[in-house]
Structure formats: structure tokens, C-alpha cells
């Protein structure tokens, strides 16, 4: 079990963080490091692509919330790409659907940043 993190620059100074695998108490520090590094470099508009994520727990959610809080301090935002019904359900029951923009595809998530 592991998490793969790929970061790539997109149009309009946005960055895409593509995650694949499982995000839990063991793997979430790796995700946190990637997001923190981007924010420290001054990138405040992020798309986090969860399409290849099979599992996320509250630790993973906490990392995403932490990232969102930090970019918002600089006028930025974090949009998510998620199509997995089980993961969408977790955002639903925790009420996080109200604070994240959640999109079915990366293009829509990037478009909503600008």
C-alpha cells in the first residue's frame, strides 16, 4: 500500500497534484509535504486529482482541509477531482462538499479556478 504523488504545472499558474493509491494515517504526510511545498513556493491555485485514489480517511481529509485553509489566506483555492462514489460519500457525510469545489474531471476543476 502506498501513495503516488505527481505534481504538474497547468495553465494560468495553476498546479495539479495527481494522487494515486490510498491516503491514510501512514501515507498522508507525503501528500501534505507535496501540497506544503507548492504553497511555500507561492502557488495558491491547486487542483487535487483524486481520480486514482482508492481510499481516503480523516487524516487525508485533514491534509486537504489544511491546504485549503493556507491557500485561502492568499486568495487562492483548492478544487478536487473525484468520481469514486465511496470517496464522494466521505466528503458528503463530513460536510466537506460545502467547502471544496468537487468536479468530475480535471478540465472543469481547472476552469473553475479562474
Amino acid at each position: 500500500m502506498d501513495i503516488k504523488v505527481q505534481v504538474r504545472e497547468s495553465e494560468h499558474e495553476a498546479y495539479v497534484v495527481e494522487l494515486s493509491g490510498e491516503i491514510d494515517v501512514y501515507t498522508s504526510p507525503k501528500v501534505k509535504d507535496a501540497i506544503t511545498e507548492l504553497i511555500d513556493q507561492g502557488h495558491y491555485n491547486l487542483v487535487i486529482n483524486l481520480e486514482k485514489v482508492r481510499y481516503i480517511d480523516s487524516t487525508g481529509l485533514g491534509v486537504l482541509i489544511g491546504g485549503l485553509k493556507r491557500v485561502r489566506e492568499h486568495g487562492g483555492t483548492v478544487n478536487l477531482v473525484c468520481t469514486n462514489p465511496q470517496i464522494k460519500k466521505i466528503f458528503d457525510i463530513t460536510g466537506l462538499v460545502k467547502i471544496f469545489g468537487i468536479f468530475d474531471d480535471e478540465q472543469s476543476a481547472k476552469k473553475a479556478l479562474v
Binding site: 491514510d24 501512514y26 480517511d57 465511496q86 457525510i93 463530513t94
Partner: protein, 135 residues
């Protein structure tokens, strides 16, 4: 007059002890998911159980005052699965939505049919039950 004989559903017990360390939580959730798979749960229900158990283990790890063990006990009948998660550390009892701990508790309570806490000498034991729903 003959009374109908009530046959109790057979109770099978599976116990697991893991180190209270982040890298072992995946083992717990895989093992409990495998137990849940023995019952007539839907795939979605098994995913619910998997996540709830991981949240309970994570909670123990977060509040561990010293490296210890997490004890997981699964009681399976034909109609329900009860999982107890306990450790040497105190388990947070109330949901605080401002913290990740709070999210974990909300997730457990949302995904399982019954959630109870029990104080024991070794600490607090979190007991969660998922019932098999007719499909």
C-alpha cells in the same frame, strides 16, 4: 404444546493485535474487511466497515501516550458484525468537527449502525456494529 426452538445465530470470533503505529493500520482494515466479506454485506458496506475500523485505529494511535498495541476483536454472526477496537490510550469520546479527530468520529458514526464506548482498565474500547441489510 411444543415451543418453537430458537437457534442462536452462530458467533464466530476473530481477534487481531497490531502495533499502535501508522504503518499497521492498513493491516487492520484489510483483515477486518476480509472478515466482513464472510457475511452477506454489499461491497459498499464492506468499504464502510473498512474505513470505520481504520478511523478507530487511527484514533488510538493519535492519542497514544506511549507506543503500545491495538486490540481488535470481530464478532460475526449471520446478521451482523461487531468490531471492538481498544488500546492503552484514551479514545476521544466526543466529536469535534474542528479537528481531524472529530471527522473520524463523524465518519464512524455515519458508516456504522451502532457505536458505543466502554471504559476498561486498559483504556476505552470502541464498539461498532454493522448489520446485514436485506438486498
Amino acid at each position: 404444546m411444543n415451543q418453537p426452538v430458537t437457534v442462536p445465530a452462530e458467533l464466530d470470533v476473530v481477534e487481531l493485535r497490531i502495533p499502535a503505529k501508522a504503518e499497521w493500520v492498513a493491516v487492520a482494515r484489510l483483515a477486518v474487511a476480509a472478515v466482513a466479506n464472510r457475511l452477506d454485506f454489499s461491497v459498499e458496506d464492506i468499504e464502510d466497515v473498512r474505513l470505520a475500523i481504520a478511523e478507530a485505529c487511527t484514533n488510538v494511535i493519535r492519542h497514544a501516550t506511549s507506543p503500545g498495541q491495538i486490540d481488535i476483536r470481530c464478532e460475526a454472526t449471520l446478521t451482523e458484525l461487531t468490531v471492538e477496537v481498544g488500546g492503552g490510550a484514551a479514545v476521544r469520546l466526543r466529536a469535534d468537527v474542528r479537528s481531524e479527530d472529530g471527522l473520524g468520529i463523524i465518519i464512524i458514526q455515519s458508516l456504522m449502525d451502532a457505536v458505543e464506548y466502554r471504559a476498561e482498565q486498559s483504556g476505552v474500547v470502541l464498539q461498532m456494529t454493522k448489520r446485514v441489510h436485506a438486498r
